[in-house]
C-alpha cells in the first residue's frame, strides 16, 4: 500500500456545504446555462465543429507525439530570440526561480495576468511570504484575490459570485467603492483605475502561456481585458509560466487552438487580444520589457506523459468547457474541489499531479455521463481516463502517484463476491431468487441504502425476475 503521508482532501464535505448555499447554486446554474448556450451558437454547424475539433486534436496529438524534441527546439528558438528559459521539475523549483528573477530585478511588486500554472505553484502566497506584492490584474482574478479565495473556474475565476456580491466585496475592501453601487460597469472602471497605477509601478509582469511555438520561439497569449498585454509590455521584466505540454510544433498550429478555445469557453469566436510574444524590447523599439523569462513547469506532467493512455490528459488547452457542461461542477461549483483545476479536467489532472492518496476521490466525483467528452475541443477521453484512475486508486504498484491508496480488502471482497454471483448461472439464480423473495425486507437504514433513501424511496425487488417471467412465458433459452 502507498504511503499515506498525504492527507485525503475531503471533497464530500466541501461539496455538501456548497450544495446548501442556494445563492452559489443559483450563480453557477445561471452562468453555466449561459455559457453552454453561447458555445452551442458557435458550433451550430455540426460539420464545421467536427472539422475544427479534428484539426485541433491533431495539432495537440502531434505536439505530444514529439514532445521531448519540440521542447528542445522551443528552448533553442526562445533563447535565440532573447527569451530566457527556466526548467522547473516541481512547483517549489518554479517558485524559487521566480523569486530569484524578482530579486535580480529589484522588484517588490508584480502584476499578473491569468495563469493557472501559478495557481498550481501557489505563487502569490510564496512571494508574499518573501515580502513581494503580487497583484492579479485579470478582473476575475482581482476579485478572487480581494476576497482571499481561489479561482472557482479556470477561465472565469469569480464566476461563483454575482454582481451584488462583488459590489459588497468592493465596498468592504476598497476605499473609493462607496459610489459604484451595484453597477457592473462602474465596478469594472474602479478596478481598472486601481490596476492602471499598479501596472506603471510594477517591476515584473507575469502571465500564462496558451501555446508556445517550437519552430519560431513564440509565446502566444490570448485574453479579453488587455491586462495581459499590459503585464507583458509595461513592466521592465516579463515572466511567463507554462506547463511543459503547452508547446506546439508550428506557427500554423496556433489558429486551430485559439479559435476553438474561446468558442468552447465563452462562446466568442476570438478573444479581444491575441498576443504573440517573440522577443524582449530590441534596440530602437519604444516599448516592451527589457527581459523576458519563461518558466516551464513539469509538476508531474512527465509521469502523465509516460503512460500512453493517461498522456491524453496533456492535450488540454484549458478552455474550461468541460466545467461548464459538467452536471457535478454546475451543482457544487469550483471551490468544492479545493484544487487549481476543478471540474472534469481537474478530476483527471489533479490526482495525477498530487497523487491518489490526497486526490483519490476526485475521479469518483463523476457520474460518467460523458457530457465533457462530447464537447471537449481536443477530444480528450476524460471519462476513460477517469475509469483508469479508479483502477489505479485500488491497485498498488503502477506509475500513478500513490496508486493503491484506496485499496480496501473489504471492497475487493465484495466485488469478488459480486463477480462470483454474476458469473455462475446457478449462483445468479439462487441469489436473485433470494433477493426477489426477501430483499425488500432490508431496512432502509443499512449503510449504502441509507444514502440512497435520504431523498428516494427504497428500490423494490420485483416478486419475479425477468428470468422467471421469460421461463414462464416459454421464451426460448437458445
Amino acid at each position: 500500500m502507498a504511503d499515506h503521508a498525504a492527507q485525503a482532501v475531503n471533497f464530500a464535505a466541501a461539496s455538501k456545504a456548497a450544495l446548501q448555499d442556494s445563492e452559489l447554486r443559483g450563480n453557477f446554474r445561471r452562468a453555466m446555462d449561459g455559457l453552454m448556450t453561447k458555445r452551442a451558437v458557435q458550433f451550430a454547424d455540426g460539420q464545421e465543429w467536427h472539422r475544427m475539433r479534428a484539426l485541433a486534436a491533431s495539432v495537440r496529438l502531434r505536439a505530444l507525439s514529439k514532445l521531448p524534441e519540440l521542447l528542445e527546439q522551443l528552448e533553442t528558438n526562445l533563447t535565440r530570440n532573447g527569451i530566457q528559459v527556466h526548467w522547473a521539475a516541481t512547483t517549489a523549483e518554479a517558485n524559487a526561480i521566480t523569486l530569484e528573477i524578482m530579486r535580480k530585478a529589484n522588484a517588490t511588486l508584480a502584476v499578473k495576468g491569468k495563469s493557472m500554472v501559478t495557481e498550481e505553484m501557489h505563487l502569490n502566497a510564496f512571494l508574499e511570504d518573501h515580502g513581494i506584492e503580487v497583484l492579479e490584474s485579470d478582473l476575475g482574478e482581482y476579485i478572487v484575490q480581494l476576497d482571499g479565495t481561489m479561482p472557482s473556474h479556470i477561465i472565469m475565476p469569480a464566476i461563483h459570485l454575482n454582481t451584488k456580491q462583488i459590489a459588497h466585496l468592493f465596498k468592504q475592501k476598497i476605499k473609493d467603492a462607496a459610489s459604484t453601487g451595484e453597477d457592473a460597469a462602474a465596478l469594472t472602471d474602479l478596478a481598472r483605475r486601481i490596476l492602471r497605477q499598479k501596472f506603471m509601478n510594477a517591476g515584473v509582469g507575469m502571465s500564462g502561456v496558451n501555446a508556445a511555438v517550437a519552430e519560431t520561439g513564440t509565446l502566444c497569449l490570448i485574453e479579453n481585458e488587455g491586462n495581459g498585454r499590459m503585464c507583458t509590455t509595461v513592466p521592465p521584466v516579463h515572466i511567463a509560466f507554462m506547463g511543459l505540454e503547452k508547446v506546439v510544433e508550428k506557427l500554423e498550429d496556433v489558429p486551430p487552438i485559439i479559435s476553438l478555445l474561446p468558442r468552447s469557453a465563452t462562446g466568442q469566436p476570438i478573444t479581444t487580444y491575441v498576443n504573440m510574444i517573440s522577443s524582449p524590447r530590441k534596440e530602437g523599439e519604444k516599448d516592451g520589457p527589457r527581459e523576458i523569462h519563461v518558466v516551464i513547469l513539469d509538476n508531474g506532467r512527465s509521469s502523465v506523459y509516460a503512460d500512453p493512455e493517461l498522456r491524453d490528459t496533456l492535450r488540454c488547452i484549458r478552455c474550461g468547457a468541460c466545467m461548464n457542461h459538467c452536471p457535478v461542477y454546475t451543482k457544487v461549483g469550483g471551490h468544492a474541489y479545493q484544487a487549481p483545476y476543478p471540474g472534469p479536467i481537474g478530476k483527471i489532472l489533479v490526482p495525477q499531479m498530487e497523487g491518489l492518496a490526497k486526490r483519490g476521490e476526485m475521479p469518483h466525483a463523476c457520474t460518467m455521463c460523458n457530457a465533457c467528452v462530447e464537447i471537449c475541443p481536443v477530444k480528450i477521453p476524460i471519462v476513460e481516463i477517469m475509469g483508469r484512475l479508479r483502477v489505479e486508486a485500488v491497485r498498488p504498484g503502477t506509475a500513478v502517484k500513490d496508486a493503491g491508496a484506496q485499496a480496501s480488502r473489504t471492497e475487493a471482497l465484495v466485488w469478488k463476491g459480486w463477480a462470483a454471483m454474476n458469473s455462475s448461472p446457478l449462483a445468479y439464480r439462487l441469489a436473485t431468487t433470494a433477493l426477489s423473495t426477501v430483499g425488500n425486507a432490508a431496512p432502509a437504514s443499512l449503510p449504502l441504502l441509507k444514502d440512497w433513501t435520504n431523498v428516494r424511496s427504497k428500490p423494490r425487488f420485483a416478486a419475479k425476475t425477468l428470468h422467471d417471467l421469460a421461463r414462464k412465458k416459454g421464451i426460448p433459452d437458445v
Partner: protein
Amino acid sequence: MDRPTPPPSTLATKPTKVYFFGTCLVDLFFPDAGMAGMELLQAQGLEVVFPQGQSCCGQPAYNSGYRDDALTVARAQLDLFPGDLPIVVPSGSCAGMMKKHWPHLFHGEPDEAKAVQVSSRVWELTQFLVQVLNVQLTDKGEPVRITWHASCHAQREMGVVEEPKALLRQLANVELVELKREKECCGFGGTFAVRHPDISAAMVGDKLADIEQTGAKRVVSGDCGCLMNINGALEAGRKPVQGQHIAQFLKERIHG
C-alpha cells in the same frame, strides 16, 4: 487514446430471430419492462431468444475500478450468444458497456476476438426498433402528456438520441413535452449515487424540477438505472408523476 463508439451495427437483411439481453437491473427491479421489450420484438414477427444463463454486463465493477471482476462477469456472457444474431438490450447504458467498453476490457485477452464479435452485434432496444425494424405503432391509449428522459450512455455511448422520441411521436394521443435540459444527467451514475449521495440528490432534484415544469403525467426513459433514481425521488417527494420504461409504455399504448 481515442476510443470512439464503434459505428452502429449494420444488418444486411431484416433478421427473423434476435437475442435479448435483459440486464441485471431489469431482471431484479423492472422485469415487466424486459417482458415488454421482448413482446415488442415478437409483435414484429421476430423470434426472441432469452438465454437463461445471462446476468450482468459487468459495468458496476468496471466503473468502480475492479476490471478483473468486470472481466469475469462479462466473460460469463460470451458463450450465451453464439452465431451472428443481433443482441437487443433494453438499456443504453448496458448496451454501451457491451458495445463500447467490452472491446477495451477484453483487449489482450485470449477471448478478445469472441468478445469483439459479440459486442459488434449489440443494439439498444429503441435503436433496433427504429433503425432495423422501422416499426410503425398505432396508439390505442387515452390522451396523455409525457416527457422523455434521455440516458447519458444511450445518447453519448450508443448515439441514440432521436430514436426513442421518434417512437413516442408516432403515438397519436401522446403529447411529448421535452425537458429543458434533456441532455443533463439525472445523478444516478451507478455507485456514484451512494458514494456522493448529496451531489446525486441535488442532481435528481434538478431533474425532478425539470420534469415537473413540463406538466407531464409520466416520464418515460430507456434506462432502468435512471428510472430507479428518478422514480425513487418522485415517490419520496410524493410527486404526481411516474417514471416508466419506454418498452412498457409503448406496449401499453399499442394494446390500449
